[in-house]
């Protein structure tokens, strides 16, 4: 589920970026914004991006309904590592040694957090609601 969260968030962002690049620079005037608005609501790429971001929100909410916030939050940072790899593989970007070190730190950090118990609070809140 955390994986679904990261994949959805990254794919959504990339699709939005792709969609907005297709539309081109937005002219900052009433007409320009109206024009851009019309183009965004008719762009399939943008809708697909929004769909993925919605998928992210749903998986995020689902994960948080049982796992600790302090468990999910660092795990989400795994996305930065995935994004760097995607940039290297698909966009052939050059990545500096400092950035690789950052990716390494994130991976080790996420592994460390992943080994802790996902849930440390009791289901007290739920009984409060049903009571």
């Amino acid at each position: 589920m955390v994986l679904a969260m990261v994949v959805c968030a990254n794919t959504g962002d990339l699709l939005l970026k792709l969609g907005m690049t297709q539309i081109g620079e937005v002219e900052f005037s009433a007409h320009g914004i109206a024009d851009a608005f019309q183009q965004t609501v008719t762009s399939g790429t943008i809708w697909l991006g929004i769909l993925f971001l919605l998928g992210f929100m749903v998986s995020y909410m689902t994960v948080l309904s049982w796992a600790d916030y302090s468990y999910v939050m660092p795990a989400g940072a795994f996305g930065y590592a995935v994004l760097t790899l995607l940039a290297v593989v698909f966009l052939h970007e050059r990545v500096s040694p400092a950035r690789w070190l950052g990716v390494l730190l994130i991976c080790v950090g996420v592994l460390l957090v992943g080994q802790t118990r996902p849930r440390t609070t009791e289901a007290v809140l739920e009984s409060k609601v049903t009571a």
Partner: protein
């Protein structure tokens, strides 16, 4: 300078506060019965009726617009490393507000992630 600090405060407090409110809301809603479309829809319906969820959304919007404003003033390689502090603030919030038990291993992981995100954005 004061504006920048204020915006960073809005960014970090907004995202942390918003996510903590949503976590609290989701914990009180309870997890979906099964990961199937129908139980998920029931879960979402209950989540959308939670006040905590609607407290969280504007806070996260506040943090999003602070981020946009900061990015229009400063380069990404400055804004994201500073905002990585929200991992530490968020963990403190999880510990003291949500009552989660943060073990030393988890703290170490959070610090590593925080430093890693700062390096990725600055590098």
């Amino acid at each position: 300078m004061t504006g920048t600090i204020l915006l960073f405060a809005c960014l970090i407090c907004g995202s942390t506060g918003g996510e903590i409110a949503i976590t609290y809301g989701m914990k009180s809603v309870g997890e979906p019965a099964r990961l199937r479309p129908k139980p998920l829809l029931v879960f979402l319906g209950r989540a959308l009726r939670s006040g905590w969820f609607w407290l969280g959304i504007p806070l996260m919007a506040l943090s999003f617009y602070s981020l946009l404003a900061l990015l229009s003033w400063h380069p990404v390689s400055f804004v994201i490393p500073v905002s990585a502090l929200s991992y530490v603030v968020g963990t403190l919030g999880a510990k003291y507000i949500l009552g989660e038990k943060v073990s030393p291993a988890r703290w170490a992981g959070v610090i590593l992630v925080c430093a890693g995100v700062a390096l990725v954005a600055a590098g």
